[in-house]
Amino acid sequence: MVEEITDFEVLEIAVRELAIEKGLFTAEDHRKFTEWAEQIGPVGGSRLVAKAWTDPVYKARVLSDPISACREIGIDWAEPTGSGTPSDYMNLRVLEDTPTLHHVIVCTLCSCYPRPLLGHSPYWYRSPNYRRRLIRWPRQILAEFGLALPPEMEIRVEDSNQKCRFMVLPVRPSGTDGWTEKELAEIVTRDTMIGVALPRPGRTADDVRPVHKARRPVPHEGEARP
């Protein structure tokens, strides 16, 4: 990732200002939506997995009726913002890992992602690097994330190219007997629900990916030019 303003950020500002000028929405509408969008994270997904690990009846519901299962933990795909913006995407599938089957998710065509459950996708998930390579060399990509799985395991890549949205339900790791849902949720990080990492006791944050500093950075609003 390069830390520099992109053409798309410039485009977004221009389109947003034009839309506000034309009265499509107000700056206040945009601010409220942005604040909501920027605060959603993977907490919903973590809670869903932790609950599925501790409650087999809930886990069965997660697999057979995932949208209802989400509602039970407070995530409503029909009203994800809580401010009246319905989602067109009501087809969630939770992919259950087993000791012999590991799932990993990608959207080769764009960057489809289960945002109501996981929040915003990481920048690498949207990169052509990941999207083009994961389908062809999944084990190499997983190794780049530090995950090497035995050849006898089946690695199943899920290319979410239509309206289904996917999330991985990882295998509950050993060493977590008797843990509360809250303790379990802490080790279910975003990367474990995409499929590029496995949860384990003590691992409560995803690995930091490298960021390349811009050579001629454009200062953001309010910053001085370096």
Binding site: P86, S87, D88, N91, R93, T108, L109, I135, R136, P138, R139, P151, E152, M153, E154, I155, R156, V157, E158, D159, S160, N161, Q162, K163, C164
Partner: protein
């Protein structure tokens, strides 16, 4: 706005031709403009993993053809060894989602 609020009674979808477990091949069709059937999957043979939902196809929906025939969508599972020459791991698979019209039966 969700599509459900736009039209009164949606036309029934084209009959779904496949069930879970059926062998199918992705058709090689010419597509102008927009499609969501990836180039890497054209001509590949796999099995139906599940039926998902009925909806407009990506070839119709972006053009606001709300009256076009809807189709059954399926998640189709492929062996990676069948998709990529020399793929070295026996058991690895890939799944992706395709509408009915892009598939044809591949026999048993």
């Amino acid at each position: 706005m969700s599509r459900q609020t736009k039209s009164a009674v949606p036309k029934s979808a084209a009959p779904a031709r496949f069930n879970a477990g059926d062998r199918v091949q992705v058709r090689e069709l010419p597509n102008l403009f927009y499609t969501r059937t990836q180039m890497y999957i054209r001509g590949a043979t796999g099995i139906i993993a599940e039926r998902t939902y009925e909806d407009l196809t990506p070839e119709d929906e972006p053009w606001n053809r709300d009256d076009a025939q809807r189709e059954q969508y399926y998640i189709v599972r492929f062996r990676q060894k069948d998709l990529w020459p020399g793929y070295p791991f026996e058991g690895d698979t890939l799944q992706t989602e395709l509408p009915d019209g892009w598939l044809e039966s591949a026999g048993k």
